[in-house]
């Protein structure tokens, strides 16, 4: 049975990774699960300089989901290169670094700094709803998606994944723009902008007022968007949004995702990634699937 997949020349032992921001750089979850099992680790977003993030409260639970407004707290690319990359290199898994920034120059600076490091791919976060500058501002307009993709591709030494926002009218437009800009792959979806009000305190549940909605509640939206994008562009897709079981992951694969990422479910059950990896194999056995490629995007 083959579960290996290849994206932009990078081979992954299985199609399961983690969604950026839910897994740090793996050190904390490495105490609970074997990181060698994962197809890849996608790191928390890293910028050219350290970012302190937003005030607390940064999270709130919702029905079958959660809102977060962490604000991309990160130590900056220098600490990341010195500490997090060597940590991840100890494991037999691929490293995908999520890159965030406030300006195109910030993104390009981080991408260039990572160029000489031993990481496998870059995932560009143009879809974070929780920062005032950068993030989603780049991700909602097709022209700016194309421009930033081009600017990054011109300097990047590793393959580039553009992470798309679901907070748009038509996600195929930004997907096509990323493709036109030269993206090697797409990941989707990032979180949906939401709000929760604490009626006892009569104020917002999050200090940032709004946050990104994630978790099982958003899965049907994510599956729909993966399906739409898979049928609109000719790029491999890393699908995510509410995956907590192998069955969820299979839905994304059938809709057109080459890989899948587990996000919020890591908080609910730290063993989710491993259960999804094992469960995909069980599904393949049950359905007599010899090669995972034979089920990617077959539901039309």
């Amino acid at each position: 049975m083959n579960t290996k997949v290849t994206i932009a020349g990078v081979e992954f032992k299985n199609p399961v990774t983690v969604a950026s921001g839910t897994f740090g750089s793996g050190a904390e979850y490495g105490e609970l699960i074997d990181l060698n099992r994962l197809g890849a680790v996608v790191t928390k977003g890293v910028a050219n300089i350290p970012w302190p993030g937003n005030p607390t409260p940064r999270i709130a639970e919702t029905c079958s989901g959660m809102l977060n407004a962490i604000g991309l707290q990160n130590p900056g690319v220098d600490v990341f290169i010195k500490r997090d990359i060597p940590f991840l290199k100890q494991f037999d898994t691929k490293i995908i670094v999520n890159v965030c920034g406030k300006t195109t120059a910030d993104y390009v600076e981080t991408v260039e700094r990572l160029g000489d490091t031993d990481v496998d791919m870059l995932e560009i976060n143009i879809s974070c709803p929780n920062v005032k500058e950068g993030g989603i501002a780049f991700g909602q307009n097709p022209k700016s998606v194309e421009d930033i993709t081009k600017a990054i591709k011109a300097k990047a030494k590793q393959p580039v994944i553009m992470k798309l926002s679901p907070n748009v009218t038509d996600i195929t437009e930004t997907a096509r723009a990323a493709e036109a800009g030269g993206a090697d792959a797409l990941s989707l979806i990032n979180t949906l902008t939401g709000m929760k009000i604490d009626i006892e305190r009569q104020t917002f549940a999050l200090a940032n007022k709004t946050g990104g909605l994630s978790g099982p509640g958003i899965k049907p939206i994510a599956v729909r968007m993966v399906y739409q994008v898979a049928n609109a562009v000719n790029l491999p897709i890393i699908g995510m949004g509410g995956i907590r079981t192998a069955s969820d992951a299979i839905e994304f694969i059938l809709a057109g995702a080459t890989m899948v990422a587990v996000g919020t479910a890591n908080f609910v059950n730290p063993y989710t990634t491993i259960e999804v990896i094992d469960g995909i194999e069980d599904y393949m056995e049950r359905h007599h699937v010899d090669d995972i490629h034979s089920i990617i995007g077959i539901v039309k």
Partner: protein, 256 residues
């Protein structure tokens, strides 16, 4: 020390006061390593409630490999826990965070308010020195006070004056002229701020336990940060993680 997530059995549950419950959980090896001031994450059996509820460890019974939590019902998740009966199962992860650093010589002052009181019990049991224990409550529902009397001199403050000193824990400390070689505290932020100021004024070493909304509980998601005096080890931006770097901090380490 290793963190484990497992499904455990409820041994016993009892209501201690309005909205305050005491629950013993048979947690196996988790009990071997649990220290005063650490916490466990308890998960809902309702899959629409995703996130664990971080709850401080009130007592550890190593012989019967059990952990006791005393918690307040503040929402649907804790409401669900309050209905758990002996023999029912619940998922927990722990032990999490760093506990108090015990100073076994001199005199200890334990100061806690409201639902910050529970961790004082395991702490008091493990402190082998003279102890004054100051507890702040809203009213006469003074849960855990009689149990704490077995381990030190208990002073109570109530907001309505129904028991002990009328006022807050600081009023009780002043009324009884209490002092110490080390202060251990847990409670609402305004109380911790006052306890920290008192410890600075009297030059007493002081450890406080903080609380914040958490998601992962293990230091990965960066939801539960607090402002710290020094740069933190994780992000180098003066944001310590309450779940991983705390929940117990030296009072001088954090800005309240």
């Amino acid at each position: 020390m290793s963190i484990k997530k497992m499904t455990v059995t409820v041994n016993y549950q009892k209501k201690l006061a309005k909205d305050v419950y005491s629950m013993w959980l048979a947690v196996g090896s988790m009990a071997d390593e649990a220290k005063p001031g650490q916490f466990i994450s308890i998960y809902s059996n309702d899959s629409s409630r995703l996130l664990p509820r971080p709850i401080s460890i009130c007592e550890v019974d190593r012989e019967f490999r059990s952990i006791r939590v005393v918690y307040r019902v503040v929402g649907a998740g804790t409401e669900e826990f309050s209905h758990l009966k002996a023999g029912q199962r619940v998922s927990v992860m722990g032990p999490l965070g760093n506990g108090y650093t015990l100073k076994q010589e001199g005199r200890a002052l334990l100061v806690a308010g409201g639902i910050g009181i529970p961790p004082m019990l395991e702490l008091a049991k493990n402190l082998d020195c003279e102890k004054d224990i100051v507890l702040g409550y809203k009213d006469s529902q003074t849960f855990l006070a009689s149990e704490l009397e077995d381990y030190g001199n208990v002073y109570i403050a109530t907001e309505d004056g129904s028991v002990g000193t009328k006022g807050n824990v600081m009023d009780a400390i002043r009324q009884h002229g209490l002092t110490a070689d080390k202060i251990y505290s847990c409670g609402p932020t305004p109380m911790l701020r006052a306890v920290k100021d008192f410890s600075v004024e009297k030059s007493i070493e002081c450890e406080i336990s903080l609380e914040e909304k958490m998601a992962c509980g293990i230091g990965a998601c960066l939801a539960c940060v607090c402002k710290s005096k020094d740069v933190d080890a994780h992000t180098h931006v003066n944001n310590k993680r309450i779940c991983k770097d705390g929940p117990v901090f030296n009072a001088l380490e954090v800005e309240l």
